[in-house]
């Protein structure tokens, strides 16, 4: 229990939706990427990819429609897409 409380202190960005909304879209995208994508698989997988926008969109659509990440809102998907396109695009 103590560690969970500590986590809340150590990860202030996760503390609440209102605070989060003040982040830049890319910072917000990073946070949602790390929070949601890491729930089912390690982040090593998406971080190993170098994909164009169309392919990233395809991947995210599949996560929602094929792999059951149905809790992702349209806003989550949009912000995550912008983040991965920017950071994990073609070299």
């Amino acid at each position: 229990m103590r560690t969970l409380c500590l986590l809340l202190i150590l990860f202030p960005a996760f503390a609440g939706a209102e605070e989060a909304a003040q982040n830049s879209p890319l910072a917000e995208g990073k946070q949602r990427f790390e929070t949601h994508c890491g729930i089912c698989h390690s982040l090593a997988l998406p971080k190993s990819q170098r994909l164009d926008r169309a392919t990233w969109k395809w991947v995210i659509d599949d996560m929602v429609n094929e792999f059951g990440a149905v809790w992702l809102t349209a806003e989550d998907q949009r912000l995550i897409l912008e983040y991965v396109v920017k950071h994990y695009g073609p070299e």
Binding site: C40, A44, S48
Partner: protein, 439 residues
Amino acid sequence: MKKEPRKLDRDRLRGILEDNGGSPEDLERFNEYMSRRGFLRRTGVIAALAGMGAGAEVTLQRLFGQGLIPVGWAAEAETKAIASKPDMIIHNDRPVNGEFSPHLLDDNITPSPRHFVRNNGLTPQRAKNKDPQGWELAIDGEINTPLKLTLDDLKKMPAITKSLLIECGGNGRGNFVPKVRGNPWDRGAVACSEWTGVPLKEILNRAGLKSSAIYTAHYGEDPPIGAAPPFSRGIPIDKAMEEHTLVAYKMNGKDLEALNGYPVRLVVPGWIGSCSQKWLNRIWIRDQVHDSNKMTGYSYRVPAYPVVPGSRPPKTDMVIATSWVIKSLITRPAANTRIDIGKTFKVRGHAWAGENQVDSVYISTDYGLNWTKAVLTQPRNQYAWYTFETELAFKGKGYYEIWARAVDNQGVTQPARQPWNPKGYLGNVIHRVPVLVGV
């Protein structure tokens, strides 16, 4: 005024899990995870979940409502399982995906610690504990007599032992241009170990196939990640009845490795690895081509015709990927080896050809201008890889590449550039190994 996020403590998390149908095993896993020390060092997912603050409870309810147990709790256990493969290049640790450098695959029979791992779900608890109690293989569908076989039942049936090649359908994906999605396998998601088991045809003959039987559908006991459906693929009845298609319970003379499918897996040699279901517990005989999500759409399917690199044809133009194609791997020397000028050294490697035979392997050291034939050793049985060997010496200093190109008995050879498909399957571009001479 800002609302203070409600803190999620252990009991609240446990309550949410319980209320949303967490199984006793999930609850036990949860208790175990939450009671450990060193928790912070394993942050990752659980940190993210805990850190969701105000939204966490709703999110967790959604996740648990999906039957999703945050698999981050299993991450540490997966890491422990990986310890049995010390030299593995890990692409992903949850689910576990790892391969070996080509120079570590030199053995004719791949040792178990060097057999690649391509998991789609989590490693089952039974496999980690090496506990066969309660395991059964169910055979049902288009057969006369449904069967349920225990491990003892299987071991009483006539068994065979063969060297059989298994290769992930995505092996070589990392060499596709433009890049495609998925684990960026280089060349090491292939192995040829010695497998012992009952030919699937013996089991299907015992069950009695109906004339309506045309395809298999395989299931395993690995928990899917997230809310993904169970991973399931299948093969045509002809391949299921082929004598080398095994229900295997020994790998190199011992129990299967946890990561390679303990206690029992299918070995469908020569075909893309996903046909060789691990942690096998059910084979459903179907009266149609299996239509799971891993048999349809773009999964394990390739375009029916060559496509523009980077493009995606309609689903209706995709066909199921089946057997592997002609391929070779240089295992000696290792990439970037330094070699003395004039010194004679051995070049070695393996070649294989899916359903075909390997006819010959050629080596080039001048970017494919000239090719010389290597000595080819026949495999001990069909579907094992061939071994090739030759000797080389370089007369002058510099950077050289050793290329290998195999040819099958139909005259089909490996391409110099990788033909492209949207998910990066069946990559077989010629292998190039750089060496440095006299520098």
